[in-house]
């Protein structure tokens, strides 16, 4: 039995985590102030999914990784300049909004259309990857809806590890409550996998991979379909930053014994 898969990684972009985020109202709904100026990165969970996809593809000859990403084309181009040096993939670009104020359902619709349009895609050999959440919308819902749209009813969320057995059975470790992982065995593809952090570090830059990727990345960006995904079905009544700044009592010269005693009293609720 052939164990070659189409590994489709769905990934959005997120503002660099070190940037300060400030919401603002616009005629079309909330947005981030200076959104176009904020440096972007591949969403951290989706990035884990991509690195795990690459690792899997290397172990399963004949497998191919597709990166399906919806974001403003200029932002995508910026991120791809860095990302394309990490792992080999074929980009499927969608020119659309990627901020946290878009609706998960509409985002899933755009992704589903783009995936359905991948030439020669065999859904029975499809591993549908993405982040279990995102650093933008943080909905935790997009991948499940996408899976349903593509007819994938074996879905796993918060996955940290995956193994493909010689029979084609897929073993997955999912995060559950109490710091435990639930281990499941699925007969075969297709499966949807919402990745947590996985087990792999960020790969080093590889200029050769970058050059190979850029041959397909630039044409993919040029032919990126415009998406109308919006939050039209979702109305925001308010979008605010948490305002509380605490008055921190700073103890610089307190003896260790006194600090410990104060902490113990506090812990015990006395």
């Amino acid at each position: 039995m052939s164990n070659a898969y189409s590994i489709i990684v769905c990934a959005g972009l997120a503002p660099d985590p070190l940037q300060r985020l400030e919401p603002m109202d616009t005629p079309t709904g909330p947005a981030l102030k200076n959104e176009m100026m904020l440096p972007a990165v591949l969403d951290p969970w989706a990035a884990c999914a991509l690195y795990e996809a690459d690792n899997l593809a290397k172990k399963l000859p004949g497998s191919k990784v597709y990166l399906v990403s919806m974001a403003l084309k200029t932002k995508l181009q910026q991120v791809m300049m860095v990302l394309s040096q990490k792992v080999p993939f074929e980009l499927v670009a969608i020119d659309g909004p990627s901020n946290g104020f878009t609706d998960a359902r509409e985002c899933a619709s755009e992704l589903a259309q783009a995936i359905e349009a991948i030439p020669g895609l065999d859904k029975d050999k499809m591993l549908l990857f993405g982040g279990w959440e995102s650093a933008t919308r943080a909905a935790g819902a997009t991948m499940q809806i996408l899976g349903e749209k593509l007819g994938v009813v074996d879905q796993f969320q918060g996955v940290d590890k995956i193994e493909i057995e010689p029979s084609g059975a897929i073993k997955l470790w999912e995060r559950v409550e109490g710091g435990k992982q639930q281990v499941s065995l699925c007969e075969s593809a297709p499966v949807m996998v919402g990745w947590a952090t996985g087990e792999l570090p960020e790969p080093p830059n590889n200029p050769q991979v970058g050059m190979a990727n850029m041959r397909t990345v630039m044409p993919a960006l040029q032919k990126a379909k415009s998406a109308a995904a919006s939050s039209s079905a979702l109305k925001f009544k308010g979008v605010t930053l948490p305002a509380q700044v605490r008055e921190t009592r700073i103890e610089k010269d307190m003896p260790v014994e006194a600090i410990a005693q104060e902490l113990v009293t506090w812990i015990r609720g006395n």
Binding site: P44, A135, A141, D154, S184, T197, A233, V245, V256
Partner: protein, 349 residues
Amino acid sequence: MDQGELSMDKILLIAHTEANGSLSKASLEALTCAKDLAASLSTTFAVGVFGENTAKALEQIGSCGAEKYLSVSGADFKDARYATDSYAVEGIYRKAQASIVIAAGTSRMNRVIPGVAHRVEGVAELHVSSIAGSATELTATRWLYRQRIEAVITRASRPWFLGVDSGNYTAWTGSTSAVTAESVATEAPAACKRSKVVGLESPGSGEQTIKPDAELLMVAGAGWTKKQADGTVHAQEARKTILGFLSKSGASLGGSKAMVDLDSENREAFNFMTHLNQIGQTGTSPRHQKGLSTCCHGEEPHAVGWRFINERRAVNLDANCGWARGKADVLYVADAFAVMAKVNELLSK
């Protein structure tokens, strides 16, 4: 259905049983949410429970005042499996025909709610922290950008499925009472059983360091792994101090990204700290009454890890640390090794 018909909203709580057949604290919190919402909308609510055997759970909440009880009970529904769980939730929803569906934000419910909402042409929101209803509008509050922006949202579409994160409502309490539940299904189609759960594992050392119900969260930062005043790393001492504190205080353990991404040199000493412990921008934001951060350094994106901690104290060597200043109630500028060793000594008495 549109907003003008809000007063006609029908509310349904869907919950799953735990391994012992009862409902979890998170599910009881979601029950409070459903009851409160029904009261504010002057309407009734129904309850649907699924699992291997739902009798104990239904009896547990038999006096909650639900108008109707629905059950999907059978061996096929014992384990958390997307295909069978979504079959159960869809069945309960179709029987109840509610317009608002509330569930606890457990890993099991979060996995299935968006997919089921899509199947029944509904919409879904997870990680909701509160739901408010009036005669004209229903709103839900949730966080965007990893707890950095708070949004209040509303939708005209129905059905609206809402997964409520644990820690936002008081768990419902009441006397047990026998109820007659309508059975929706007792087994799932074969097509739903392509996957099977083969076990539960504890990553790392197997130490139980994540305790969602603990009053206190201890956050350990990468400072524990750095060279100390004598120019050497004290990894084993740090391990002993941290695990000793967890044992004596009953605290849950969180870690910074730097701590869970440790290199192999330190990995063994801190094998009780895994990616599941990670809090912050790319980790979790757990809810505890108190939080004690030790050896943590960082700015706003990392501090979101204790967004939902009520009382916060920190021990580190930098008085201007962004993790603590303006974020903690008290910052002790001191050597955490010495302080925590003394704390352990006092907790032993």
